[in-house]
């Protein structure tokens, strides 16, 4: 417990100080890491804890992003206020999806979630007047507020990571204790969970709602970061990317999520530097190698490291 708090403190200090040593552009990239971090926190609750596979989480990010975009562009809202609202709208969408999803499990649920981003993209293009259609909506660059004077990228970095820290604490509180145990029991055996008095339907739907809420906030921040939203900003590959990040992080663990987020932001870029012609191949190879060596993801690796340290008496 002490070592965990220690690690978190060190991580917090590093995150606070990092922009001083980073260029604007790298600060921006680390903001994206923060955004993926938030999305992965949510996906972890759904897939890592309650065991429901979602191949369409990018769609909930899109819901949050469009909420922010439509409110700021079409209705002139101040961007900060739209962030929690985007989370709530996406959370509601998640709950709505979670209800019919109760009838599905495993592969069939995955297929149903697969349809989400595709259906959403068509809806976005159809309601042109509302969403800007294929051309999309263009937002203003985030300006530093609340008395701070800094570049848009660095402001975004601090905004993202502050929200990420708060949501991390919330996720930690959510999964410890009864709720976490209930969710994990759903993963292992629904029958056993039901016979232990867990309301399976309620918790499964709740997991969808909460994870969609997180995705919505991440999507809202992504809209502010990229300052542009159109159906292409949330392709199917984003949902797969999130799942990849979760697996790299180590399913069902909060500690590895930072590494998962870091991986999905930077490794595709590094792959492009390695090979201009086939970056996806390089990315795939790195991913396969990583999972072969660390099948339990970053969290497993960290656990092994600390086990090692403890054994050597440190």
């Amino acid at each position: 417990m002490r070592t965990r708090a220690g690690i978190l403190a060190v991580a917090a200090i590093v995150l606070i100080v990092l922009p001083r040593f980073l260029s604007d552009y790298h600060s921006y990239q680390f903001s994206l890491v923060g955004i993926y971090f938030i999305a992965l926190l949510g996906l972890n609750i759904l897939t890592g804890y309650s065991g429901q596979i979602s191949l369409g989480h990018g769609a909930f990010m899109a819901v949050g992003a469009y909420t922010t975009a439509i409110l700021t562009v079409n209705h002139g809202w101040r961007d900060l206020w739209t962030i929690p609202l985007a989370g709530l709208v996406a959370g509601a969408a998640g709950l709505l999806f979670g209800l019919p999803a109760l009838r599905l499990a495993g592969v069939y649920l995955a297929l149903a979630t697969f349809a989400l981003p595709i259906a959403l993209a068509s809806l976005e293009k159809h309601f042109r007047a509302f969403t800007g259609g294929g051309t999309g909506l263009i937002l203003h660059l985030p300006h530093s507020e609340l008395g701070f004077h800094t570049s848009p990228s660095r402001w975004l970095y601090y905004l993202t990571w502050c929200i990420a820290a708060v949501l991390f604490a919330c996720a930690w509180l959510f999964v410890r204790g009864r709720t976490g145990r209930a969710l994990r029991s759903l993963h292992f055996s629904e029958v056993a969970a039901a016979s232990s008095g867990v309301n399976v339907a309620a918790f499964k739907t709740l997991a969808f709602g909460v994870s969609a809420f997180y995705a919505g906030i991440a999507g809202s921040l992504l809209a502010l970061a990229v300052a542009f939203v159109n159906p292409d900003t949330f392709p199917l590959s984003l949902s797969i990317l999130l799942l990849t990040g979760l697996v790299v992080a180590g399913l069902g663990s909060l500690t590895g999520i930072f590494f998962g987020a870091f991986f999905i932001e930077f490794v595709p870029i590094w792959s492009q530097n390695v090979s201009q012609n086939a970056p996806s191949v390089v990315y795939g190879l790195i991913l396969i190698a990583l999972l072969l060596v660390f099948p339990t993801g970053a969290a497993g690796l960290l656990a092994k490291l600390f086990g090692l340290l403890r054994r050597t008496g440190l």
Binding site: A9, T135, T150, V226, A227, T233
Partner: protein, 412 residues
């Protein structure tokens, strides 16, 4: 409680330290050194519009030529500065254009963005570039807004004649020569397609002349259902406001289903390269013959223009600096080269120590006789008239060559 005091103090001190250092330090003139000028742009080297990749290649070839030759001041490059042009692949996807443009500005620290391609792509980055006060010059799209909204976005300007002017030119031709035509339109379902369609319809005297207009998505693999539907309306005139791949498909499908309407093909897709591809795919020149389009550039595919000094210069530069094995009759190389020449003209006018502001000032007061444009078409801007190229002419394709249908039309 006491145990928390020290950690809290440390955290607060670190925050103060971290935040104080996070203030950005501006650069003097990004992208310009004593010996180099860095510029960049995003283009579709891959994806549904990859046939446009010839444009940045033409631009690169011209910049290589400028970097190697000695100018009138005896120096290579522009005032002794070599032009470094970074063309990145956005795959014609606006979200990628946003990411890559940001990278060019914040990581590559380019002086200006030049020639970026795609209506929706360049619209997506326009706000960002104007807020960052980075010149977005001579975008490779005729969408009217880039010139029309120059007052609102002073760092952004187009280059080619607007789609508005082009759509209106086709409509006026129909008004004058074919009032009774029943028109079917195929258009791309995005800003580019809508710009053409709206301008075309607005300029038609007979508002009921368009019997049907069908849209297709950029990402759609085929336009078959749309073309079949349009053919079914019994229209005798087919207007195509589509990018090259979809245009070629539409021409081939129309021919194969036995529909032989009078053709109007938008200039971005009616080059020698694309019309020849359509002819070959359809197996007959009749699929494409008679197609009317709009031109303002000289045509390297036209054998009668070979003696023209501008065309000779084009071939000389492309043979020496162009990509190996390039099909030099592709007018898009010439388009890129013409645009690059305009940029070089503006860069000279920006002075011996150019800044982004002096570059924009030069761009707002352009007066260029470009050897790659048709005779009578010149490049001219002023603060009141931010439309660089205003004149063009309608030409007709027959058996591998264009012939003029009208004289020069003034589009703005």
């Amino acid at each position: 409680m006491k145990k928390l005091v020290l950690p809290v103090v440390i955290v607060v001190a670190v925050m103060a330290f971290g935040l104080s250092g996070a203030l950005a330090t501006p650069q003097s003139t990004p992208g310009v050194t004593a010996t180099t000028v860095d510029i960049g742009g995003t283009f579709p080297f891959s994806g549904p519009a990859s046939l446009y990749a010839s444009i940045p290649k033409g631009m690169s070839a011209y910049f290589s030529y400028i970097n190697a030759r000695k100018g009138t001041d005896g120096k290579r490059g522009v005032y002794g500065r070599q032009i470094h042009f970074t063309a990145l692949d956005d795959g014609y996807v606006p979200a990628n254009a946003v990411q890559l443009t940001r990278q060019l500005v914040e990581q590559n620290h380019v002086f200006a963005l030049v020639g970026g391609l795609g209506t929706d792509n360049q619209t997506a980055v326009r706000d960002y570039l104007n807020q960052m006060k980075v010149p977005q010059l001579f975008v490779s799209t005729g969408a009217t807004t880039f010139d029309a909204d120059h007052g609102k976005y002073p760092w952004t300007i187009g280059w080619q004649p607007t789609y508005h002017a082009e759509g209106a030119a086709y409509a006026n031709y129909l008004n004058n020569h074919d009032k009774g035509a029943k028109v079917a339109v195929l258009y791309q379902n995005d800003g580019y397609g809508h710009d053409y369609l709206d301008s075309f319809q607005a300029a038609l005297k007979n508002k009921n002349q368009v019997v049907d207009a069908e849209a297709y998505e950029v990402t759609a693999p085929s336009v078959q259902s749309q073309v079949v539907k349009l053919a079914g309306t019994g229209a005798d005139t087919f207007v195509i406001f589509a990018t090259p791949t979809a245009t070629i498909q539409a021409l081939v499908i129309a021919y194969k289903i036995g529909w032989h309407p009078k053709l109007y093909v938008n200039s971005v897709s009616a080059t020698d390269t694309f019309l020849t591809l359509a002819t070959n795919a359809a197996g007959s020149a009749a699929a494409v013959n008679g197609a009317i389009t709009d031109q303002y550039l000289k045509d390297p595919g036209d054998p009668t223009q070979r003696k023209d000094p501008g065309i000779k210069l084009y071939f000389r530069i492309m043979n020496k600096y162009g990509p190996a094995g390039a099909r030099l009759t592709d007018i898009l190389y010439l388009y890129g080269m013409a645009k690059a020449r305009t940029f070089v003209t503006a860069l000279y006018a920006a002075g011996k120590n150019p800044t982004r502001a002096s570059l924009m000032n030069a761009v707002n007061h352009l007066n260029e006789q470009n050897p790659f444009l048709l005779k009578g078409v010149s490049i001219h801007t002023s603060p009141e008239d931010p439309y660089p190229i205003c004149n063009d002419e309608l030409v007709q394709w027959n058996n591998g060559a264009f012939s003029a249908k009208t004289g020069l039309i003034k589009g703005c």
